[in-house]
């Protein structure tokens, strides 16, 4: 008998009773966050900032200019870009810009240039959606934006359309019907890499990014000044 069959036989022979599925939907509805859009954005921003994340509020029309300005003020030797429209738009914006990083496009399989990847200073990816309750970004790596882009470079820059902000993890998972088709890898990210393994002292940049910058695109009807003033 194979190990598989032996294990399953032992488990199947055990006495069992039929138990009903607990009511998850009822639970999360009962404790749902009733915040409006502005309060939810503030909550998300406060939670992200508490986890050492910098947020740059911008609009769809000028996020690339805002990010170019940030990069001019925080020079990076190199920047990894996705082979996708946001990456190409940022590349165009940074061409000839002051203090612009050397641009590297993730357009080939990792195997041939792993060591080079480990020397790149910053990586830029887009975000699928956000979670307000915990200050979280949801990433859905794909052919254009491989998994390592948000992991290996010490600075991760994430472009987030704040219109896709869910109150909690449950509503994000249900709202987007994740169970109908998961990618090879999906991620929740809530700040830069960290550890408290040495004498309970919190230190950032344990293995992954030391810094996380979120370029958050605000919907046109949200007043940026009001949001920024109260989120800090």
């Amino acid at each position: 008998m194979s190990a598989r069959d032996a294990i399953l036989a032992k488990l199947s022979a055990a006495p069992r009773q039929a138990l009903v599925r607990p009511d998850l939907a009822g639970h999360f509805q009962r404790f749902a966050d009733r915040d409006g859009e502005i309060a939810r954005l503030r909550r998300w921003a406060a939670a992200m900032r508490a986890a050492k994340t910098e947020i740059l509020w911008t609009r769809e029309a000028d996020w690339d200019a805002a990010l170019a300005g940030w990069l001019a003020a925080h020079p990076q030797p190199s920047l990894l870009l996705p082979d996708a429209p946001p990456g190409r738009r940022l590349a165009r914006r940074l061409e000839g810009a002051e203090n612009a990083p050397r641009l590297v496009c993730f357009d080939r399989e990792l195997d041939g240039w792993k060591a080079e990847l480990f020397d790149i200073a910053a990586g830029f990816t887009t975000v699928r959606c956000g979670i307000a309750a915990t200050g979280t970004l949801v990433l859905w790596p794909d052919e254009a934006q491989p998994r390592t882009m948000s992991l290996v470079p010490p600075l991760h820059i994430a472009l987030f359309d704040a219109a896709a902000l869910y109150p909690d993890f449950y509503s994000a998972m249900r709202g987007e019907r994740w169970a109908d088709g998961m990618p090879t890898n999906a991620l929740l990210i809530s700040g830069p890499s960290k550890t408290a393994d040495i004498q309970q002292t919190l230190a950032y940049g344990a293995h992954g990014p030391r810094e996380l910058l979120v370029v958050a695109l605000l919907p046109p009807h949200v007043d940026m000044a009001e949001l920024e003033g109260e989120a800090r």
């Binding site: 190990a3 399953l8 639970h27 090879t184 960290k194 040495i198 344990a206």
Partner: protein
């Protein structure tokens, strides 16, 4: 420099280990500080008692429901993972699991395995197995790396190096890592570890991880972590091997939401960890990174024994948060090494007898004051004291006594003297005449009470009978009042 790994089997020596730990003032101060920190953090993470109660009930309900369907869910998981391109392996024993993993490494002619945090790999002593076969296995969780470098085992399932001070670690890095200056700056120490381990990710042939939740519905392996080492191990090497106990399977993807919330808040008082990594398959055609092969090793190692008994099955509800040990007055005083097992503290006391047998763990079910703190904080409401009582009973039950679900090592702690004492106690208490005779004799011969009473007088004054029994005192008092007793 190769990190060293040691194998320690000391659960039989629990009492000696505990005695030594109690005498180590530095260890006790370190543990006290760490446990106070973790208890405060947990308390702050659950400000709403109503929400906590509802969430615990939900977590327990999910775990119990998933366990009630365990064989079906394991088959569904296997089927879904296979459809996603993941190879599933089954192992009844640690030796089977080690052989399977080594075969995967060997097929790539691999020489370096970089490991994310995995208690099951500790349980099967994988590092030792691989190193004996010329494969270096490097722990990449910072705490695990520190204890591996020190040649020790983790002392806590969430914070493996809590027993070490930053001075200990500064000295360790300085002595064991070439060209490393002595520094007590924690940020610098972390950066030293980061530099060493980043090289390992780059060079590793195989990455290994544990699994927090395995989702049957979608064939997804979920990993909870803060450091990013789990992501590194499961992304950068060409092969990813995940290893987990068979009990970690959940039915639906949405089941992970409340369990994840309970896990992070109970473990370290965090609302969420930095990373929640959901892996559903190897690199697909067109994808530019991620492992080309993903394997899952499902390990039994005594879990089906716990499963066979409906009461003891509750052990398998555990989501490995470590809250029970953080709140345990015994663990807090002796630390994880004293238990001599992979899983220390209250959860270790109830799971280790299934993994290792009662013969090797006979003292562990007694390493508890039964104060109930562990059950009070358990996020999935495992009634740990109830199971400790049951395991004590099984370890005392004569080996030959037929029972519905015998445990390996049944009767390991059985003692003829203790059994005779309890039989006598039962007889005395069941017969009024004998009880009166016993009480009269004990009170009159109280001066013969031994000054040394094993297990008691080490820390207490001797137990001595009163000059008169309670019945006699009541009779005298009632007589004084003129009433018949």
């Amino acid at each position: 420099m190769r990190a060293q790994t040691v194998t320690i089997h000391r659960s039989r020596a629990f009492k000696d280990n505990a005695r030594a730990a109690l005498a180590d003032d530095k260890l006790r101060a370190s543990l006290r500080g760490a446990m106070d920190f973790l208890m405060d953090k947990r308390l702050a993470a659950f400000p709403d008692e109503e929400e906590l109660a509802a969430l615990r009930a939900l977590g327990e309900g999910i775990r119990r429901r998933c366990l009630s369907r365990l064989p079906e869910l394991l088959e569904q998981l296997e089927q879904q993972l296979a459809a996603n391109g993941v190879r599933v392996h089954w192992a009844e024993t640690p030796a089977d699991a080690n052989r399977i993993i080594h075969d995967i490494v060997e097929a790539r002619r691999g020489k370096l395995v970089v490991k994310g945090k995995s208690m099951v790999s500790e349980e099967i002593e994988l590092n030792h197995y691989l190193e004996a076969r010329g494969v270096e296995a490097v722990e990449s969780d910072m705490g695990e790396y520190i204890v591996q470098l020190a040649g020790e085992k983790p002392t806590h399932i969430i914070m493996p190096a809590i027993h070490k001070t930053k001075q200990d670690i500064a000295l360790l890095f300085h002595e064991r890592l070439p060209d490393t200056p002595y520094t007590e700056d924690v940020d610098e120490l972390i950066q030293i570890g980061r530099r060493v381990l980043r090289r390992k990710y780059l060079d590793a042939d195989v990455g290994l991880s544990g699994v927090n939740f395995a989702v049957a519905e979608t064939g997804t392996l979920c990993l909870v972590e803060n450091e990013g080492n789990g992501r590194m191990c499961t992304t950068v090497p060409d092969v990813h091997v995940a290893v987990t106990g068979i009990e970690k399977v959940v039915e639906k993807l949405e089941d992970v939401v409340p369990l994840y919330s309970l896990l992070t808040r109970s473990a370290i008082g965090q609302l969420i960890t930095t990373y929640f990594n959901m892996i559903s398959g190897p690199r697909k055609p067109g994808e530019k990174d991620g492992p080309r092969e993903v394997h899952l090793v499902l390990l039994d190692n005594g879990r089906s024994q716990a499963y066979a008994d409906e009461q003891l099955r509750k052990t398998l509800q555990c989501i490995r948060c470590g809250a029970c040990m953080n709140h345990c007055p015994v663990y807090t005083r002796i630390g994880g090494h004293a238990y001599g097992t992979t899983y220390p503290g209250p959860i270790g006391e109830i799971i280790s007898p299934h993994l290792l047998g009662l013969a090797d763990t006979r003292d562990l079910p007694t390493a508890s004051s039964l104060c109930g703190a562990c059950a009070e904080v358990c996020p999935v409401r495992i009634p740990i004291p109830e199971m400790l009582m049951r395991l004590r009973e099984e370890s005392q039950r004569p080996a030959g006594e037929p029972v519905a679900h015998p445990l390996a090592g049944q009767g390991a702690a059985a003692s003829a003297a203790e059994r005779a004492a309890w039989t006598g106690w039962r007889l005395v208490n069941a017969s009024p005449a004998l009880y009166r005779l016993f009480g009269w004799t004990a009170t009159r011969l109280r001066r013969l009470t031994p000054a040394k009473q094993p297990g008691w007088t080490q820390n207490h004054l001797p137990l001595t009978p009163a000059p008169k029994t309670l019945h006699e005192l009541v009779r005298e008092r009632e007589a004084e009042k003129g009433r018949p007793a």
